[in-house]
């Protein structure tokens, strides 16, 4: 049989898979030249006429105490001090999740963690503001300090961190699908273990900074802030200041990294706004590095029990997951992160029975929140390590076990989570082939090891924090003869590269070049609505909104061009700055000419495109019942990846060195492959630091011992392994331009891949992060003792 004729292309018939000219190109970042010249303006670089400085007085004596009295009289008397603010003046509670809002701009009544803000000063310069802080006298009555979530639950009868949270639990939930206990009885292999993750901070390089300017005459507030969620910040500011949102404008200057840590409002922002309103002058509050650690909102510390059951052939039959999350002092993103950890056991494998019992507990520590890959990396660590061990129990390769269970396109998980597209198997295959995993695993000399792990992540959420049909992203396109093409969206560029990617997608959709598109982001007044940069949502969401907006512009241009060319509008195509007939190649006109003709007759072309995620119900597919929190984790599509880490363990010092990482990722169509590589390489190092070095330490009173980049150890260039990252061929036909995500999926496999590699190297399975040299030496010592006594 000859199948060749199918290859022939028919003129005028669009190809099955879109052919792109702008999407899929590694163009340099649009904002890079300004950044390399030092001309990019971050919030901390800004000055406004009449601007003064704000500083926050923090409680550094206690982690839990009643505020008896705050005496500001001496501070107010200091020349140069303009105003002092205390928590009582802004008692409205804010929270990123409206149902659990329990944070205030500054502490009201009591402090709940070491470093919490109790008062703030506005002064003519930073030196004066700092001097004033020392003159504020606060009297405390110390309360018992709870630092461990289990102790916190046990002693709740005696000490409550929040009066309205019995048991010191923010929220707890059970999600049960199928019959997990029965499934385990039918399993040939069952393994259960406990896993513990650590207390880690994003350590983005730019400390939070906020500049607020309140105009007493108009009642208008303008806030410039280093944030990744201008909309949520906007909304919280409105709640706390009791100013309608339409009187507040939030603008993001350049943002120096976020990784989730700028994914809530921060006290810098509230204090700047409140002080500015008080004195009618612009106020800037820029954090010192230790204040970044106090503000925290980093990764939740998870104490997990996971149990997996396999049938005799190695197919997963059940997963049982119990998670106690140490969330610190306030709610933050807590409930959401908690339900994410529950949903993350359903993929990237086919799991027919699953049970998650999760709770998020208050302790007297800086609050945990959202951190790159939130809710995913902890259960992923447990699951991928357990499967590695179970493959050994079965006597097969972890690769084989994972391939056997890997999800494919069109999979619906037992919690009704639908996966339209998956190249997960291709990721596993690619990484295994390129690393030589099968040849090396179990065969390297003692001290050297190789470990494999997979992972996945959402490409945006299928729900909002508001119960409404409001689109998650709107993009406004304006085309005229003066500004050219301008894209307006209140999305947040935090260094991930959305400006460039949005320019590429808009250019693709409009048939022009990415250099032609001016992208205006990060301003709630200039831009159309966007939820923010989190949940790896922006490429997909903006892509969909851009396509919709561009279609309307294209239609208008085609109608004008059809008259100019003398053919039907529906037979015209737009590509590479030309509008042409698909059937008569001579009928071509410059795109710009059509724009001119259009503008000269009817004026500027504008259109707005919206993106709303598909609404999917988090239900139990067996009973059909709605399960609490179960729509969290649903996403329009999912990214997948596999990482293989090779490690050297120094048997004398216990130091672990990751020498080589082979990664393969399914990010859908890569809009900008160079940016994808940057995200993946950054993710690997980011997660590697947390696996091996990073940890916030507290003393027994809850005082932070290492709130600095000197004592909190992030990886440097010297720790960088050889990295081979691969973008597997992928195109999600249900997604705009075939895209998925890469910003957070790539952190998922790192912990377990390293831990599995360490096992391969020294035969020790670690279940607690970070894996410090001390722990390695201790384990090696114990292992020798076991050996000698055997």
């Amino acid at each position: 049989m000859n199948n060749k004729p199918a290859q022939k292309r028919f003129v005028g018939v669009p190809p099955m898979k879109e052919e792109f000219t702008q999407v899929g190109k590694s163009v340099p970042r649009i904002d890079a030249p300004k950044k390399v010249k030092g001309e990019a303006i971050y919030t901390g670089d800004m000055t406004l006429p009449g601007m003064v400085y704000g500083k926050i007085k923090r409680c550094t004596e206690y982690a839990h105490a009643i505020i008896k009295k705050i005496d500001c009289s001496k501070a107010l008397a200091l020349p140069g001090v303009l105003a002092i603010l205390t928590g009582d003046e802004a008692p409205n509670k804010w929270g990123i999740v409206p149902q659990s809002a329990n944070e205030t701009a500054l502490a009201v009544g009591k402090v709940r963690f070491h470093g919490e803000g109790v008062a703030a000063v506005a002064a003519v310069d930073e030196e004066t503001a700092e001097a004033a802080l020392d003159l504020i006298e606060v009297e405390y009555e110390p309360l018992p300090v709870l630092l461990d979530p289990f102790e916190s639950m046990n002693r709740a009868g005696e000490v409550l961190i929040h009066e309205d949270s019995p048991g010191n639990i923010l929220h707890a939930g059970d999600q049960i699908y199928g019959d997990v206990d029965k499934a385990f009885t039918d399993c040939a292999y069952v393994l259960e273990k406990e896993f513990h993750t650590s207390y880690v901070n994003h350590a983005f390089l730019e400390p939070h900074s906020a500049l607020a300017s309140y105009d007493p005459q108009s009642g208008q507030l303008h806030l410039w802030a280093s944030s990744q969620v201008p909309h949520y910040l906007h909304r919280q500011m409105s709640n706390v200041l009791e100013i309608p949102m339409n009187k507040i404008r939030v603008t993001l200057p350049t943002v120096g990294g976020g990784f989730g840590g700028k994914g809530e409002a921060a006290s810098s922002e509230f204090v700047a706004c409140l002080l500015s309103r008080k004195i009618g002058r612009p106020v800037k509050v820029t954090f010192e590095r230790n204040e970044v650690f106090f503000t925290h909102k980093g990764r939740h510390i998870c104490h997990m029990k996971m149990k997996i059951g396999l049938d005799k052939d190695g197919y997963i039959k059940a997963v049982d997951f119990d998670n106690t999350m140490d969330g610190g002092a306030y709610a933050g993103w807590g409930v959401v992160v908690m339900f994410y950890t529950a949903s993350m056991i359903h993929l990237p494998y086919k799991v027919p029975n699953a049970r998650a019992r999760v709770r998020r507990v208050y302790t007297n520590k800086p609050t945990c929140g959202a951190m790159r890959g939130l809710g995913g990396v902890q259960p992923r660590f447990a699951m991928e390590c357990l499967l590695d061990e179970m493959a050994e129990m079965m006597g097969i390769s972890p690769y084989e076990l994972k391939m056997k269970n890997a999800v494919e396109s069109g999979h619906t998980a037992i919690n009704n989570m639908y996966v339209p597209h998956s190249e997960y198997k291709k990721c596993l295959q690619t990484a295994v082939e390129r690393s030589g995993y099968l040849e090396k695993h179990g065969k390297l000399p003692f001290g050297k090891g190789i470990g494999l792990a997979g992972g996945y992540y959402i490409s945006g959420t299928a729900y909002t924090l508001y119960q409404s049909y409001k689109p998650h992203t709107s993009v406004l396109l304006r085309v005229d003869t003066e500004g050219g093409v301008t894209l307006h969206c209140a999305a947040a560029e935090i260094g991930q590269g959305c400006t460039t990617v949005m320019a590429q997608m808009a250019a693709e959709a409009l048939g022009i070049r990415y250099e032609d598109v001016h992208v205006v982001l990060g301003d709630t007044e200039l831009g159309a609505f966007d939820l923010g940069s989190f949940a790896s949502r922006l490429t997909y969401a903006a892509g969909a909104a851009i396509k919709e907006a561009a279609a309307e512009i294209n239609q208008k241009l085609k109608e004008v061009a059809s008259g100019m060319l003398g053919c039907r509008a529906d037979q015209l195509a737009i590509k590479d700055r030309k509008i042409y007939s698909m059937y008569e190649s001579k009928k071509t006109i410059e795109w710009e000419k059509a724009v001119q003709a259009c503008v000269n007759s009817v004026g500027a072309l504008t259109s707005i495109g919206h993106y709303s995620p598909p609404r999917r119900k988090g239900i139990d597919l067996i009973s059909g019942n709605r399960v609490q929190g179960a729509n969290i984790g649903h996403s329009p599509t999912f990214g997948f990846s596999c990482q293989i880490h090779e490690v050297d363990v120094d048997l004398e010092t216990g130091r672990i060195r990751v020498t080589r990482v082979t990664e393969a990722g399914d990010c859908g169509k890569a809009v900008n492959p160079m940016s994808v590589e940057g995200q993946v390489e950054g993710s690997i190092m980011f997660a590697m630091g947390q696996a091996l070095y990073e940890e916030i330490k507290l003393d027994k009173n809850g005082k932070l011992l290492n709130p600095s980049l000197h004592d909190y150890k992030t990886p440097t260039a010297m720790d960088m392994p050889e990295m081979d990252t691969n973008i597997v061929d992928s195109y999600d036909p249900t997604a705009p331009f075939g895209v998925k995500e890469t910003g957070e999926g790539a952190v998922q496999p790192t912990f377990p891949a390293i831990v599995n590699a360490i096992y391969d190297a020294i035969g020790v399975r670690f279940t607690e992060l970070p894996i410090t040299p001390e722990k390695v030496l201790k384990a090696l010592k114990e292992k020798k003792l076991v050996k000698s006594s055997a």
């Binding site: 590694s26 340099p28 970042r29 904002d31 890079a32 030249p33 300004k34 950044k35 390399v36 010249k37 030092g38 001309e39 990019a40 303006i41 971050y42 901390g44 670089d45 994003h202 350590a203 983005f204 390089l205 730019e206 400390p207 350049t254 943002v255 120096g256 990294g257 990784f259 010192e288 590095r289 935090i494 260094g495 991930q496 590269g497 160079m674 940016s675 590589e677 940057g678 993946v680 390489e681 950054g682 993710s683 690997i684 190092m685 980011f686 600095s708 980049l709 000197h710 992030t714 440097t716 260039a717 010297m718 960088m720 990295m723």
Partner: protein, 161 residues
């Protein structure tokens, strides 16, 4: 207690009233207005505030401004050519995707320049060692190392300083 000092920054002499305790980073950013020099930690840990003093990379957040009189200070704003053309290291950072959030970038580029001025053809290990005092949380360093390596090639070919 203010006193007037003269600092030479990017080839231009500035007369600046300072306090003897003023740090170089604050003087450069607030008094001179060159905000390209970043402050990431204020304790000499992250490298974002790196400037060149007589060609050596120095952490301006732990350097007293008063101690820099009579020395040549180069900040990131002093690197591009007079016509605005990017220095080969800057261009290489753009081309190789070595810039994400950009906050470490000025310090990273100046540290790289000091390295390449001393060692025009560094090995990968030498580059890693050279930039080890500059923290980047976005890129994972790989594209930065590649950018510095590529810049060293261009600079050797063009004999750029």
């Amino acid at each position: 207690m203010k006193q007037l000092i003269e600092l030479e920054i990017n080839g231009r002499a500035y007369e600046i009233p300072i306090n003897p305790r003023d740090l170089l980073v604050d003087v450069i950013r607030k008094k001179v207005g060159l905000t390209g020099t970043k402050k990431g930690c204020g304790q000499g840990d992250c490298g974002a505030c790196t400037v060149l003093i007589d060609g050596e990379p120095v952490l301006s957040c732990i350097t007293l401004a008063i101690a820099c009189q009579g020395k040549k200070i180069t900040t990131i704003e002093g690197l591009a050519a007079a016509d605005g053309k990017l220095h080969p290291i800057q261009q290489s950072f753009v081309d190789h995707g070595a810039v994400q959030c950009g906050f470490c970038t000025p310090g990273m580029i100046l540290t790289s320049k000091a390295l390449l001025d001393k060692n025009p053809k560094p090995s990968e290990d030498e580059i890693k060692r050279g930039i080890a005092g500059n923290i980047c949380r976005c890129t994972g360093y790989k594209k930065i190392v590649e950018a510095v390596s590529a810049a060293s090639e261009t600079m050797s070919a063009e004999e750029v300083k």
